[in-house]
């Protein structure tokens, strides 16, 4: 048995990973990719020692996670790229090369992930270019027109049409993985809340599940359900925020402002539970820090019911407006085959009919007991990415109201001990953008030696590039908003 098969958040001994020779590793990983598994991580087991790396794959059809190790102890630190045949590994390989000095052999498109200078030294990265009559290049960013995070976009256009868009990020890189390894428990929590300020619940859920697994504890049912309520309220709020942005980008002010108003009610509901409008401070190792009492429960339920009824009317207005629909439909298309070969996740994938939702495929926490339906759309355009959000909002409301009405009694927190030594865990959750992966590995004395984070934006930024092909550059803001990706989550 050269591979390790585990479940989401199931801890395992580091010794159980078989570290293969380079050629065997290559063959095994190729087989996984051939079988249609999706890469979710490619990193060393020790952040400061690159001699042993793991490739981690998720298989939605079996709900299993596969870990394959490779031993580079005798060098050379060269990795034969899989990206030519399997584009989904492309960016993971770039990341491994940039962070740990691996050279990639036969890599089709090595580019900076977060640090411009590592691969190319002082020569700036050269973007793809095209030449010819009426060809022009547009460079935007890092600072954009609005209150938004920084990133650089390079468009190659022929008239209005975009031939190619390259996205160059890393401006938000603040070394969060390194800080997490060095931090104590309380700092770790604050750091994880700050991976992406709009996905506090999603990342905290992944983080707490990972740490709790390594401590061998399980929070009580009440705590797990409160967590999932937090996650779903976050999902509803951020989806509404995105719909507001989409409406704004097509000049539909009434819808934009109406969505904006109800988003406030949703994030205030999170504030009601834990004091922070983004849920900071709610999660703790072993459970949650705040319980939902009678009065809070009443207000929460009232908020949920009123927003649920309001949004139905606002959605009806927006999705029946001919003006809005004509901008949404057939704009920024991504095909099923492109989306699956490049490994898109979450909303971006489901809008192309890829059936992937961590809550369904790799259930964790309260989602193991109470299920949500997976929403998918066929067309892969702006319309699909907008409509799917409205469907998920409805489903999340159903879930939240049901859970609030049936919240079981019980303790909201259990004590946690120390991290087990020499163990590892892979924790996946579904943030509002898509699949979040946290990998925690401890050394022989029980300290973290690797903490790897994958935000869904890491997979999905390339989806935006694909969506822009043969799309008018004037539709970029609309396409960008329909993906609604995180810079901070990508840059870490």
């Amino acid at each position: 048995m050269s591979q390790l098969n585990i479940h989401n958040t199931q801890h395992f001994k580091l010794d159980n990973i078989v570290f293969l020779k380079n050629a065997d590793f290559r063959r095994t990983v190729s087989e996984d990719l051939q079988a249609g598994k999706r890469m979710i991580a490619l990193c060393p087991v020790d952040r400061n020692d690159r001699s042993k790396i793991i490739a981690v794959f998720a298989d939605s059809s079996t709900s299993m996670i596969t870990v394959t190790g490779c031993d580079f102890a005798n060098g050379p630190y060269e990795l034969e790229s899989f990206a030519d045949k399997f584009p989904q590994t492309n960016f993971f390989e770039c990341e491994l090369a940039e962070s740990h000095g691996f050279s990639l052999l036969n890599h089709p498109w090595q580019r900076p992930v977060r640090k411009q200078t590592v691969i190319n030294g002082s020569t700036p990265y050269k973007f793809f270019g095209i030449t010819g009559d009426e060809i022009h290049e547009v460079a935007v960013g890092p600072i954009h027109a609005g209150v938004i995070e920084p990133g650089h976009f390079r468009f190659q256009c022929h008239g209005e049409l975009v031939y190619n868009l390259e996205i160059n990020l890393g401006y938000q890189h603040r070394g969060i993985e390194e800080l997490i390894i060095k931090a104590n428990a309380i700092r770790r929590i604050i750091l994880n809340e700050s991976i992406a300020g709009d996905t506090v619940m999603g990342h905290m859920s992944a983080h707490c599940n990972a740490i709790e697994s390594l401590c061998n504890i399980t929070p009580g049912l009440r705590a797990q359900i409160i967590r999932s309520i937090g996650e779903e309220i976050e999902r509803i709020a951020m989806h509404i925020g995105c719909l507001s942005g989409i409406a704004n980008d097509v000049g539909f002010a009434l819808a934009a402002n109406s969505y904006g108003r109800i988003r406030t009610i949703m994030i205030n509901s999170l504030g009601l539970i834990c004091g922070s409008r983004f849920g900071r401070g709610l999660f703790n190792y072993g459970g949650v820090k705040f319980d939902i009492d009678e009065i809070t429960m009443k207000t929460l339920l009232a908020n949920m019911r009123s927003v649920k009824s309001d949004i139905a009317q606002i959605n009806a207005l927006m999705f029946s407006s001919v003006g809005a629909l004509s901008r949404f439909e057939n704009t920024g298309n991504v095909s099923f085959s492109d989306a699956s070969s490049t490994g898109l996740v979450g909303i971006a994938a489901r809008s192309c009919d890829i059936k992937t939702d961590t809550r369904v495929n790799f259930p964790y926490g309260a989602y193991r007991y109470s299920h949500l339906s997976m929403m998918t759309m066929l067309t892969g355009d702006v319309f699909a990415r907008a409509k799917i959000r409205s469907l998920e909002i409805d489903e999340s409301f159903r879930y939240v109201i049901e859970q609030l009405e049936n919240l079981p009694e019980g303790s909201i927190s259990v004590d946690h001990g120390d991290l087990a030594a020499g163990k590892a865990v892979i924790s996946m959750t579904e943030g509002f953008r898509g699949e979040i992966v946290h990998i925690a590995i401890t050394d022989k004395s029980g300290n973290l030696m690797q903490y790897k984070i994958k935000d869904p934006s890491f997979n999905n930024w390339y989806g935006l590039s694909l969506a822009l092909r043969n799309t008018a550059i004037s539709d970029f803001p609309l396409c960008n908003k329909s993906f609604d990706l995180s810079y901070a989550g990508h840059d870490l």
């Binding site: 027109a145 995070e149 920084p150 938000q172 108003r261 504030g271 009317q313 810079y487 901070a488």
Partner: protein
Amino acid sequence: MLDVLKIRILQGDPIVHDVRKNGTSPLYRGFPLISDAKCLAGCKECANICPVNAISLDPVSIDLGKCVFCPECEKACPQKKISFSRNYIMSSTTRNGLIVKNGMSSITPEKASEKIRKYFGRSLKLRQVSAGGCSGCELELNACGNINFDMGRFGIEFAASPRHSDGIVITGPITKNMAEATQICYDAVPDPKIIILTGACAISGGIFQNSTEIDRSFLDKHKIDLYVPGCPPNPLTFVTAVLNWLDRK
């Protein structure tokens, strides 16, 4: 048409009419109060537990420029000396002004100079620079302009270009990768111009203060006009900070 009117009526009256006197959720953690309670001999619980080293002892003080309002210190103190109030009005024109000591119940900034108030008192356009922010501060700054908080009614707005702005609002600890862009953006703003630091990360580095990936030299070179603490600051904290500073009603 009727549907449109229906949605308009649904909006109701969502605006916060008095930005200085709005209720907050019962659990909201705002300005921390430090009571007269005596510390136990040798007790360092609050300072030890603080994830961002915001607390100094003898006497106990909290640096709001670092504080992430987590409330670990409140829980850790055996004497209940520290408690977070629901007061969201806090900002300062000086870094030292953010240090909360025993007996203080709020901090308000000094008034801006007469020149600044004359230039920007009725219309202030700001360019926001996210320099490593997690997007928490960005979300709240965006919310300042929505129909609930409607900062635009005071003539305060975020502009798309630094060329159209009167100053910059920095969020995030200023990463190495954003250091140059932050400087270029500031240079592009016409004089006279102001700098506002928003959130613990921008003011002190916050939870990222020990990161090797940040470069805060920009802040050494320029005078900061206003500090708005929080993690992230509530929209009303930001709105009232600017209004108080400009001496506006």
